[in-house]
Amino acid sequence: MTTAPATTVPTPTATAPAAAAPAATAPQARAGDGASQPAVRVRGVRREFAGREVLAGIDLDIAAGEFVALLGRSGSGKSTLLRILAGLDSDATGQATVPERDAVVFQDPRLLPWARVLDNVQLGLRHRDARARATAALAEVGLGGRERAWPATLSGGEAQRAALARALVRSPGLLLLDEPFGALDALTRIRMHSLLRDLCRRHRPAVLLVTHDVDEAILLADRVAVLTDGRLSLDEPVRLGGARHRADPTFTALRARLLTELGVVDDEASEGDGHQAEYC
């Protein structure tokens, strides 16, 4: 695996005015190349809002090609961490090194309504073959033929797939996903899961998936982390093979552990197979 040139964001301790000047406040420096260096390296990242500390020192490494799922209760700061890694938060402090090429899929599809689907997918691309790549990416997510559609005419799942295509077409070194399937129905979600698994296997980006859904995390990730009270209270690999089943004892055990970590009383796990049907 060749290491992509990385961007270090040593976020300043000084309070920068929250002006609409993107990337102007964070001085960016190239990190030296190193074959053993992880794609993402986060050290002591802190963020507070109005005196309330939401992130209280996060340490996190993500290897190139590794898929990490981040779990946490609502309001625990998952999105905050993801936004910091996406370079959207200039007020955080600490150290974060991320690949130069990253891509974000937000919780909402966030397609520009005034641009056709294809133009949304190739937004900001400067390659000469951007058009062809975007067309290919759309085909990959099953939206071939919808290039000239307006975003308003897409269904929720289609729009989210277009957003996924927009992220993939950048061949990112880091893919940041903020509950990308939260608004989808269970069926579409299952289809999106296998789509995402396939795409990640093929493109091999480092992935950080923020989710509420414990099953989703175990099904997709190589590693799961839980954010509690501003720190990663749990961070461990998922020791399951390629084909994962909810009935697998390792699955259920990990699921129970994660739910406990999240402070949920796990009375659904005992239902066993019956639970699988109403998975969402």
């Binding site: 990337a23 959207l88 891509a103 520009l112 005034w114 641009a115 937004l123 975003p151 308003a152």
Partner: protein, 323 residues
């Protein structure tokens, strides 16, 4: 687990239900089954009363056998009032109830309009008026757009531009006529200047607000796809602000005609307004009404033009309807 008890159609206490109504009635009462098994909820549903409970209501729906009414087209109905008005006007003029020196009759007006058009007077003056509006609009809209971009995109721009504009906006444009005459004399410049000034304000205000109203989430997106400042403006800010700009443009067109009318009637030697003012000195009410009609038609046409522009440029909004 909750099961809903559904009543049968047509309860015994149906009053005023349309014959042939097929709406099933839903009772508001929901029984809560405590047993979590599926069979329990099924038996609960089976045990539900066969008739609507006391809380049920039957909806009065249309009778499918009733022949559909053929409505008069709306556009036709809308013409009724104006047609009646013109008829009264014509009758009043013919009977001498409305004197010719107060208001010429519709037939006279049509006749005068035709002869003015035939000898070229109307066309020549119309071209002059149109030219004034076009020049004023082009100037006003351009300046307003540039100012709106400067103050919408840059904080410093807002500080420097927005406050003065907001203050100037409080001055009625037509109050500036004497000063404008001092500056530009009574030639073409003064009319173009006044139209430009009058149209600049609505365009500026609406465009500025639209730029500031562009969804911040799209600005974030632009950052994550590395659009850069120019790309952000071109791909996000401008298209996002376009609907607001078009609203401003529509206001501007209305105002441009208003200002033209006044400035042409105050000091001019050509144009529709001049034609009307000259007619006033000779008491030719027919020519005045012809001028009014021309202004009205121009106003309608320019509004239609902006609406066409909206349809063309905002297709993405109608995406769903277009299919």
């Amino acid at each position: 687990m909750t099961s809903l008890a559904l009543g049968s159609r047509g309860g015994a206490d149906d009053v005023g239900a349309a014959p042939g109504s097929t709406a099933p009635t839903a009772t508001a009462a929901a029984s809560t089954a405590t047993a979590p098994t599926a069979s329990a909820s099924a038996s609960a549903a089976a045990a539900a009363p066969a008739t609507g409970g006391p809380g049920s209501v039957t909806l009065a729906l249309a009778d499918p056998d009733r022949p559909p009414r053929r409505p008069v087209p709306k556009s036709l109905r809308r013409l009724l009032g104006p047609a009646l008005l013109v008829a009264i006007w014509q009758v009043g003029s013919s009977t001498g109830w409305i004197r010719e020196d107060v208001l010429a009759g519709p037939w006279t007006v049509l006749h005068t309009g035709y002869s003015l058009a035939a000898d070229g007077t109307l066309g020549d003056n119309l071209v002059i008026s149109l030219r004034r509006v076009a020049l004023g609009l082009a100037l006003g809209v351009t300046v307003a757009l540039v100012l709106a971009l400067v103050s919408g995109l840059f904080q410093l721009g807002e500080d420097l531009v927005d406050a003065p504009v907001q203050i100037l906006r409080a001055v009625p444009i037509l109050g500036l006529v004497p000063l404008a005459i001092v500056w530009f004399g009574i030639g073409e410049e003064v009319k173009v200047f006044l139209v430009a000034l009058g149209t600049a304000f609505p365009v500026y205000i609406n465009t500025f607000a639209a730029i500031r109203g562009v969804d911040g989430r799209f600005v974030e997106l632009a950052h994550t796809v590395r659009l850069g400042r120019l790309g952000l403006i071109r791909r996000v800010v401008l298209p996002g602000a376009l609907p607001g700009f078009l609203v401003g443009l529509r206001f501007a067109l209305t105002i441009s005609w208003l200002i033209l009318v006044v400035s042409e009637q105050i000091n001019a030697s050509s144009g529709i307004g001049y034609l009307m003012d000259q007619a006033r000195t000779f008491g030719q009410t027919d020519i005045i009404v012809v001028g009014l009609a021309v202004y009205g038609i121009l106003g309608l046409l320019s509004d239609a033009l902006v609406r066409l522009l909206e349809r063309r440029t905002l297709v993405w909004r109608r995406g769903l309807e277009a299919r």
